[in-house]
């Protein structure tokens, strides 16, 4: 099978790989590049565990072919912590017990991040809408919604 080159920015650093044509971004990230923060829950677009941010937009890496990401700016949950300090969303997820098995967490955090980047003070409805493509089988969602609202408040206090 012919290999094709892909090159993109992942969490601020340049990545270049040869991959098999037709490889999903999820498989390229996990198996080639070694970023296992996006999870493969369904490979069907249904669970949201593989969510990543591509050029500022939330996308499902399981339904995105890696070759279509040449030159893109990709962000995953693995890139959020800075110098060992957790991102406010990660902190809030821990504090609010919004993570149980943790499988949905990276996708939830990506979906929440694009929301807070655009809507720093979201309503509860905004949060529910933003997370509506992400499934959690453990928490019952309420702690996750609360964590995002807490992170939003922490953000706006920092800004004030």
């Amino acid at each position: 099978m012919a290999k094709v080159p892909v090159q993109f920015t992942l969490n601020g650093s340049e990545k270049a790989e040869f991959i098999e044509s037709g490889t999903t971004l999820l498989n390229a990230l996990r198996d080639k590049i070694g970023d296992t923060s996006p999870k493969g829950g369904c490979h069907q677009g249904t669970c949201g565990a593989c969510s990543v941010i591509i050029d500022g937009e939330l996308r499902l890496s399981c339904l995105t072919l890696a070759e279509t990401c040449n030159g893109a700016d990709i962000k995953t949950t693995a890139g959020l912590a800075e110098g060992g300090v957790l991102h406010p969303l990660q902190r809030a997820f821990l504090d609010a017990f919004a993570t149980q098995c943790g499988f949905c967490t990276p996708g939830m955090i990506m979906a929440a991040k694009v929301l807070l980047d655009r809507t720093p003070n979201p309503s509860r409805e905004d949060v529910v809408e933003a997370l509506s493509g992400n499934i959690c089988r453990c928490t019952g969602y309420e702690p996750i919604i609360q964590a995002v609202l807490v992170a939003a408040r922490a953000n706006s206090q920092n800004a004030a």
Partner: protein, 264 residues
């Protein structure tokens, strides 16, 4: 999995590549890549087009042209397409809307194709290299269509004349039990002077409710006057059965939801 992606800068060049057996066009990929992930080995090659023109939205002189690669998210957030925003927002969750394209929605089998339902009510034109086709003809022939759709065009409806409803069990996102779009013109006395109604999930692809359209003419949008149209809504339907709802259930609730859409 052995899958090869071919990238072209124009639809013209890609059309030739698409004629090869086992080759499919890649839009946003939410259905195609999903199928290959699931083990659909009938697809060995995907073709995509990077022409930025395919992602353009043009609104001028009351006419709208949506490039085939325009996403549901782009429609939902476009200031001049507010009338269509509910139909754009009806598709999937946020990540799906960032990927799902207009072109792909035209081919999506029921229970998908919510946006195509809106386009059918709007009497859109589907544009390919070969020319322009009325959406009804296009949908009827889509299983054997091999040409790349480059755009859809339609007259921009006013917010008052265009109504859209998607019924789903999971809120705020969830697959359709059914979807309905209606383009209605009212005369000065409040009676319906023209009606075009499209239904989703009432067949394997969007269909028109022509009997209900006829029955609405000359009626005021009151519960009493629309009753004959609601009674006619089920004419010619063959709803799908899936884990969301049976064909029987879909047929039963269609008049109820059409009634709500028409009378509010």
């Amino acid at each position: 999995m052995s899958l090869v992606l071919q990238t072209f800068s124009s639809a013209k060049d890609a059309n030739a590549a698409l004629q090869a057996p086992g080759t499919r066009y890649l839009g946003g990929g939410t259905l195609v890549v999903r199928a290959t992930n699931e083990g659909d080995v009938s697809t060995s090659s995907l073709v995509r087009v990077t022409d930025p023109g395919l992602s353009q939205i043009a609104v001028a002189g009351g006419k709208v042209r949506l490039g085939a690669s325009v996403t549901m998210a782009a429609i939902a957030s476009h200031p001049e397409l507010a009338a269509l925003a509910p139909a754009g927002r009806a598709v999937g969750g946020p990540a799906i809307r960032n990927m799902a394209t207009v072109g792909g929605n035209l081919f999506a089998p029921a229970p998908y194709g919510d946006f195509a339902v809106a386009l059918l009510a709007l009497d859109a034109t589907v544009v390919t290299e070969g020319g322009e086709t009325p959406i009804e003809t296009f949908l009827a022939g889509r299983d054997t269509s091999r040409a790349i759709v480059t755009a859809v065009g339609f007259s921009l409806p006013t917010a008052e004349s265009f109504r859209f409803l998607k019924v789903s069990r999971i809120k705020p996102k969830g697959v359709s039990v059914l979807s309905i779009a209606a383009l209605l013109e009212l005369a000065a006395d409040g009676t319906v002077s023209s009606a075009r109604i499209a239904l989703g999930c009432m067949a394997d692809r969007p269909i028109r409710a022509t009997a209900a359209e006829k029955a609405l003419l000359g009626c005021k949008l009151t519960p009493r006057e629309i009753a004959p149209a609601l009674a006619a809504a089920g004419e010619g339907i063959a709803p799908i059965t899936d884990p969301i709802a049976s064909a029987w259930y879909r047929a039963e609730v269609l008049p109820v939801h059409l009634g709500r859409l028409l009378s509010n």
